[in-house]
């Protein structure tokens, strides 16, 4: 596929998590031959397949009573979209112009135009924001428990965070580690009840409450972390060889600043009960516009909404 052949589309979908790929399946089946610009592989940021590519077992996606691995589930989504005439570009959108129709999307120097756009760029993990953090990535610091847990067999590791993803990672990592300490800045977890119970009943998991990571210690690889008690302000050190971070997410909306309406926290605004953004013909779905539910199934559901909204909107233009 050359760039020149592919310049004009009925619909371009930006992003390829559960929302984007569901929108692709629906628009493809509506004969709109969607172009999905799926993003670039990355171990630390957004990527094709979305956040599930960095997760382990998904136990709450209907249709998989035995559970399914996040990456496997996303491969199935993608295969299903591909089956119905979806074209994929494995690169990142670098710029958009939604000020006139057709809309324009750039991938570096290559330009694509479309009658309509579905934005499903999702969200990505927040890192700790410590000065020397990037130096330790791949040397004891990890953003992907499934990828890297294996290398911490018999070691003592720390998971930072208190939500479902932190607890899921901690539980998964007990397969390899001798001890997993969950470091959380509050004194209670945000995670769902079932995940909490599972963690509390796991003899390899310990909790360190009211604690924030302030420092990463080590020469060539991670040797320990510095902590501060969020109640007493007391500092302490802890030796660990593995550090996994799951402290939350931020939406991938940098591309759309001053173009699409956003909440104060950067999430895109959609008209309630729909996927319409403030620009006619531009729709948004999935985590990029949802900071409440943030589930694979709700993302997929909203991807379906965006596809149907888009299809009807396109029909109304003629």
């Amino acid at each position: 596929m050359s760039a020149t052949e592919m310049t004009h589309q009925k619909v371009i979908i930006i992003g390829s998590g559960p929302a984007g790929l569901t929108a692709a399946i629906y628009t493809a089946r509506a004969n709109l031959a969607p172009l999905v610009i799926e993003g670039e592989p990355s171990s630390t940021s957004d990527q094709p397949g979305g956040q599930l590519m960095l997760t382990t077992e998904v136990e709450n996606f209907p249709g998989f009573p035995e559970g399914v691995m996040g990456p496997d589930l996303m491969m199935k989504f993608r295969d299903q979209a591909a089956r119905f005439n979806t074209t994929f570009i494995t690169e990142k959108v670098t710029k958009v112009d939604f000020s006139q129709r057709p809309f324009t999307v750039w991938v570096r120097d290559t330009k694509y135009t479309a009658e309509s756009i579905i934005v499903s760029t999702g969200a990505q993990s927040i890192m700790l924001g410590l000065e020397n953090e990037s130096r330790f990535y791949g040397h004891g610091l990890s953003t992907c428990a499934t990828c890297d847990g294996f290398f911490f067999r018999g070691q003592e590791i720390v998971v930072v965070g208190g939500g479902d993803s932190a607890i899921e990672e901690a539980t998964f990592l007990t397969k390899f580690a001798s001890k997993v300490t969950i470091v959380h800045r509050r004194d209670s977890l945000r995670a769902s009840k079932i995940m909490q119970d599972r963690a509390r009943n796991n003899p390899k998991i310990e909790f360190k409450w009211n604690s924030q990571v302030t420092e990463i210690i080590g020469t060539n690889k991670l040797e320990g972390i510095g902590l501060v008690d969020t109640v007493t302000g007391e500092s302490s050190k802890m030796s660990v060889t593995g550090l996994f971070v799951a402290i939350g997410h931020r939406p991938n909306t940098d591309l759309f600043k001053n173009i699409l309406d956003m909440e104060a926290n950067g999430y895109l605004q959609t008209r309630p009960g729909s996927s319409y953004t403030n620009i006619d013909g531009v729709f948004a779905c999935g985590d990029v516009q949802d900071h409440t539910y943030r589930q694979a199934i709700t993302a997929a559901g909203s991807g379906c909404m965006a596809a149907i909204d888009c299809e009807r909107w396109l029909e109304a233009q003629h």
Binding site: S43, G49, P71, R108, Y137, G138, C147, D148, F150, F151
Partner: protein, 112 residues
Amino acid sequence: MADGIVILTSANFDETIKSSTTPILVDFWAEWCGPCKAMNPILTEIAKEQAGKVTIAKLNVDDHGDIAQRFSVMSIPTMMVFSEGEMKLKMIGAKGKPQLLAEIAEFIPTKS
């Protein structure tokens, strides 16, 4: 060899690295790693486009952990470039094709 990609094992690793007539990019991966899977199509494309200039090889860390350990792999995907039998570059994490090509550019001969 599948899709022009060399499969490395504990048994053939050293001999393959030593006898390679081109620089060789080794992708350390495993079945359970999502970002590793995302690299597959990119590596297949590079193997095809750069055939004869750079060899693309894969090593499964699950099956051949001794090699991963020898090169202190603690995160996958990790990709390394070996040239003249020595490790010249270590890249940690998945990345897009343009970025990967830029990082290995110095090892790809401009004339074939």
